[in-house]
Symmetry: D3
Subunit: 300 residues, 6 copies
């Protein structure tokens, strides 16, 4: 739990998986002989702590909700059995989802293309590596993504995989896009109206892609869907410390500390998830069809 909070574990999928494991661990290690109520109290307590470690990640929220859904009045034994079963489902889900996203996304890449990406998304990396393994020839343009320079992570990972890559500073994003045929990005969250939350700069670059008629696909596990957004809840989008942006800045200079921004659904051609490729405005509908337990409202 600490690792999650201290950001030692990175990537929304990773955090979600660890939360499932941690919750399962807690359930498994409860003392023997607790009453139903005491047992449930402890479990819920753990869930709350895990949730609060990363309160802005729908994937974690959804995993925790899934792990305990409908178990509130069950016996400790039943809860244990179900939680172990569901932990396995969660692990399998993320595993299979990633390979499906890679498969579906790779079909959008053809020979000779230039693909643009911003930041570093494991789903986008999976798509690009899958396309490479299918012997497709393409180049990737990547923007550096200040302040954390995740663009370098992407560039290194692609380079290790023998995928040609060209590196641009963020202010040259328009030039990076002008050469591109396709824009692929990850997502931190998806809302009921199809808005995608992603690293700052994404909407500006998506808008330019839209003007230049370059399709924009979001590659993401569908569990990043935020079911609370239906009811108007806004995600608490994380901000960074000022030193991340400017170490040693003069005291009186203010800093814009946003690290994420929303991307308008009109700028997105489709969301590539393990469910297939759907327009962002239809995503909530598709989620309801596939995971109805998600839409039974309850805040941990």
């Amino acid at each position: 739990m600490k690792k999650i909070k201290n950001l030692e574990i990175q990537g929304a999928e990773s955090v979600a998986i660890h939360s499932a494991k941690a919750l399962s661990y807690v359930v498994r290690h409860q003392k023997q002989g607790l009453s139903k109520k005491e047992f449930w109290h402890n479990v819920k307590n753990a869930e709350r702590q895990l949730f609060n470690a990363r309160p802005t990640e729908p994937a974690t929220y959804n995993v925790l909700k899934f792990m305990l859904a409908g178990l509130s009045r069950k016996s400790p034994e039943h809860v244990l059995e179900k939680v172990l079963e569901r932990e396995k489902i969660v692990l399998e889900h993320f595993d299979k989802a990633m390979s499906k996203i890679a498969e579906f996304g790779a079909r959008k890449i053809s020979n000779g293309m230039v693909v643009y990406t911003h930041c570093h998304s494991s789903s986008v990396m999976a798509v690009l590596k899958r396309a490479k393994s299918l012997n497709k020839n393409f180049r990737v343009n990547v923007t550096e993504t200040r302040p954390h320079l995740q663009g370098r992570l992407s560039a290194r990972e692609l380079n290790r995989n023998k995928i040609p890559v060209k590196y641009f500073i963020d202010s040259a994003g328009r030039q990076a896009l002008k050469e591109a045929d396709l824009m692929l990005i990850g997502a931190d969250a998806v809302t009921s109206t199809g808005q995608v939350i992603n690293k700052i700069g994404t909407e500006m670059f998506a808008e330019i892609a839209h003007i230049y008629d370059i399709p924009v696909y979001v590659c993401t596990d569908s569990w990043k869907y935020d079911p609370e957004s239906i009811f108007g809840y806004e995600l608490n989008v994380e901000k960074g410390k000022s030193t991340i942006f400017w170490k040693g800045k003069p005291k009186d200079v203010a800093i814009n500390r946003h690290l994420f921004e929303k991307v308008d659904p009109d700028l997105i051609s489709g969301i590539i998830s393990e469910l297939g490729i759907y327009p962002p405005s239809m995503f909530a509908e598709e989620m309801k069809r596939s995971y109805d337990w998600l839409f039974k409202r309850r805040k941990p």
Copy 2:
């Protein structure tokens, strides 16, 4: 001359002024008793060297052209007299021009405004400081301007002058603009069709300003006008070394090395120069009216 070449002297105006001084120095220190032809040969030689030290700066080109215009067949004495006279004119020109730009530009700033700027332009700084000295209250949003981080120069200079400033990473440029009422930028060159050459990112931000209906003014000495652009010559726009963008990048990763880009004249409300405020498309016309010697074509 060396200092100019080695970039020890920075800022287009500074380079132009030093070129005038250097040329005057050369003329003053020619050996006695040279023939008209020998004398002129040496002077032209110096001019060429000075020009080649910074071949992409119209201000330097224009200053050199002005210094020697119409003197090719004159006696060494006449040339000396004229060059000294013109050196003085050049120094006065840049001095007066800056204060006029500051005066005209400051009139565009009113109380309560948020002004956006990218990079660090001495003309823009002069405008903002002049507005401050007129007791206007306003805030400045500035983007950091990777790779050289000139946004920090701007932020520090404004902060020292008690002007409130807010600092944004380049990818947050849209957020910086959304809060702004006015965008002010400098220029490295202006062409016959009203295109402005400025630091990379400027066109992307100017386009966003245009969408949001925020006026964009370019603050610049008019001598940055490139008279050769009438004849289709394209400025050799400087690129940076890859290490400036990513020190220690993997060998096979390519780098986009552009440091400057053109800004479409449609995105610019007006150019604020010592001549007054004119639309970019009319700038060449106004230059012809004011400095006709500039339009007698000749490449040093």
Copy 3:
């Protein structure tokens, strides 16, 4: 019924509720001893009259449809029982829906915001008052909405509720929006393709909001959805008398008498109804999921 026709009852929800009550009244006051057929004939007759009193309001149409759905061959006693039951459901529906809309919508308002609205919508008022009751500080910009000046109704209502408000003439709508962070409007109807029918001027202002990147939310009871729009039926949108626009106009001057216009779904970020917040293009799908009886086609 007369009151409805003579516009003594205003507001789509109000009319719908009164139609339910009136129909229930008619059912309750049928003579004893009528045959099934006679009884049904009378009831249908009343329904038709109520429908025709306001033929352009989907809410009324939907309420009437709901009240009698599946009862055509039932005994008078059964019909009476069901109609009373459904009347109650209708009243509860509109009551609960309004408070849900207020709740969901208020979550979109945060401190320091400027909210823009056009015309006077009871749902928008409910949202704004709810946000105020949550101690949020915000200002409302409102356009006057010629010819009926409903903007003044909005301004007065907000003012009575201590919400700061600024009043703009319609031609200054762009200025009203330029200061705004959020646009909230009501709806007279919503179609299968997500078009929203609202007071004239709404689309022009929504377009400006779209350009300025200001989210536009439509606050409306979902029963304003027009289920006939699936089959291509166009709503008969009401026009006003010329004297409303210009009393004493010269005889030969023509008058544009439109009072309503359609708003393109691309300009709308989401529809806030009692069902939650969904994109307009998904609204029909969500309606089907929630109220399937609505989609059994039948024109009263």
Copy 4:
């Protein structure tokens, strides 16, 4: 089958119907006494051949899928019975669908309108003729649609039906649209993200319609939906031979041979199919609701 391959049968609906008939013919004419496995082998073989005759048409693919869905392990007798039953359903489907499309679409046409269309679509023709039969007065602007000049087919057919028509060369498409109130087009395929595949030029004209605020409706049988698009498969869009574009072109001149292009769903107001009128982004959802057998994945 040969006729289908040799393009003797034209129009997606026509090809789909003939494929159903051909498959049924094959089933009916199998030798007596085949084993279940042999029988099924032969039937599948026929299906594959039919599919390959026109691999880019979803309507054919969907019809073939429907004809054999769930029959793989059934007895020859059962297969025969089902195939005959389904053949009838297919024929009825296309017949009824066309008249529903005509009905729904005609409601969008009102007196005095100018309707724009590109190419020649049987669904669009059906809509226009239905509107005419309802005594609506309107004019049609049609672009010629190089290289096959199907605009002339449309012009002739409308002219025969006494509908006034004006003919434009493709480069005058903007002028054709500037006079128009409504744009109607057919479709060759519809994808999971709401993209519509249609004759080249359609997206350019739809974009102009969008700028001029002219609604664009796509008239199409819903079976042109491509269920494989959910998984990222791209339709193999047909190209033409160079001689179609320029007979006798110089050897070294390259030719752009695209005959079709994708239309962005943002440019489309609605898809008019036998299911009703829905936005393109919701089309996949509506298909799932209506034809769930289509979404059981299997490539023939």
Copy 5:
């Protein structure tokens, strides 16, 4: 002078003409025997008063500047002679200019056109009446122009001149434009960058005209050019009293009191003045060519 200040004299041309007459009157009625200095002092005093009566109108400013240009050290007799001479020139100027504008503008109107105008401009009226006198058939769409309803003045004047006219409320401006082929507006001032100051709503409508590809011409006497705008001076644009907008408004409701707004030069196809038809960005250049005395800077 009083009449001017009290707005008894309306219309920028009218005010300018009366200022010329008033100044001439003052010069003519100076006491005999004044010293050169006393005489000039009185005259300058009068000029200042006239200027201050309407400080926001460039036409008045320019007329006053023209009347006294170069006369500061001349004898009273000489001044008298020149002022009388120039008064005549001014009167002739405005008279001839109006008929030239009418002539040039009328050439832009052809049979069958719909012309859109906002507010009431004497130059636009002159153009429309001239076109009518040339037997051109066209209709005018006019928006009412709250708060002063000058659209009704336009409608009445056109109606008296047998020109068909259709009246729209301001919020229906988009509908007024959608039917139009040409937009004609007047101007209160024109700046060095080609911005046009006109009645509120003009920029919003000009933007819509631009989107719909409808040419926008500004009809104005060139003396409305503001020569001070070159130096960054902003016109003090007049605001109205709140009671003009809402008589009896609740005390705490704020009012947006702008009556004028700037129109971006990019939205204007040309300025029709007595000098001919030029793009707004070239207007300052054309003024310099025609009236160089205007550009000798001096504030009265």
Copy 6:
């Protein structure tokens, strides 16, 4: 003269040159001994006939104006002398102008570029061939330009000159542009507000180029400037016969017969003429500076 009228002579420059020759021929072959008045009458007569042979071409109009400017009261001998002198100037003008345009324009083309052009312009061809002769490697995309298929002329001419070329039907113009870095077109006329008249389709393609941020340059002899456009005169733009568009069309089908259209100056980056490269809005100003005789108004 006949040849000109019968379109045997093609291309605006060609027609203008032949008009100069024809007028000179007429002057040279006047009978001896004519009175000044008779002589002038005959010459003016010839001028009028030549003008009327192609009333829509400014180049011809300008040449004829130039040939006789200021000669109305001169002796036959003087007129003869001047006309011969000016004939020579005209011939030289067009010759030199073309090579300057080629030179200036070629500087805009760099290695690796794709240049797009529509129709067939001798100036554009000259630019492309000059660039080729400078050993630049580039490809040209050309649209076919129905109904006269001048795109094929361009394709053949480029192909003969070993310049790689790709041919697109007009409806694929967007695809042709999406691959392009530069758009070059010719002009039939240029107006005082910078509008360019060119072959139909040009504005639609220029608009797409603008969206995609591709610079558009117009290559044209400056004598195609129409000096009458200052006064509001509209060029009589030529239409084609319907058979050109559709041979054998059904009698009742109407045909849009436009062959030319105006291109908005906002869509044009610059006009490349023998005067240099200027923005369209400044073109009239530059013409006045260079050819003041053109602006003395007189209609032949």
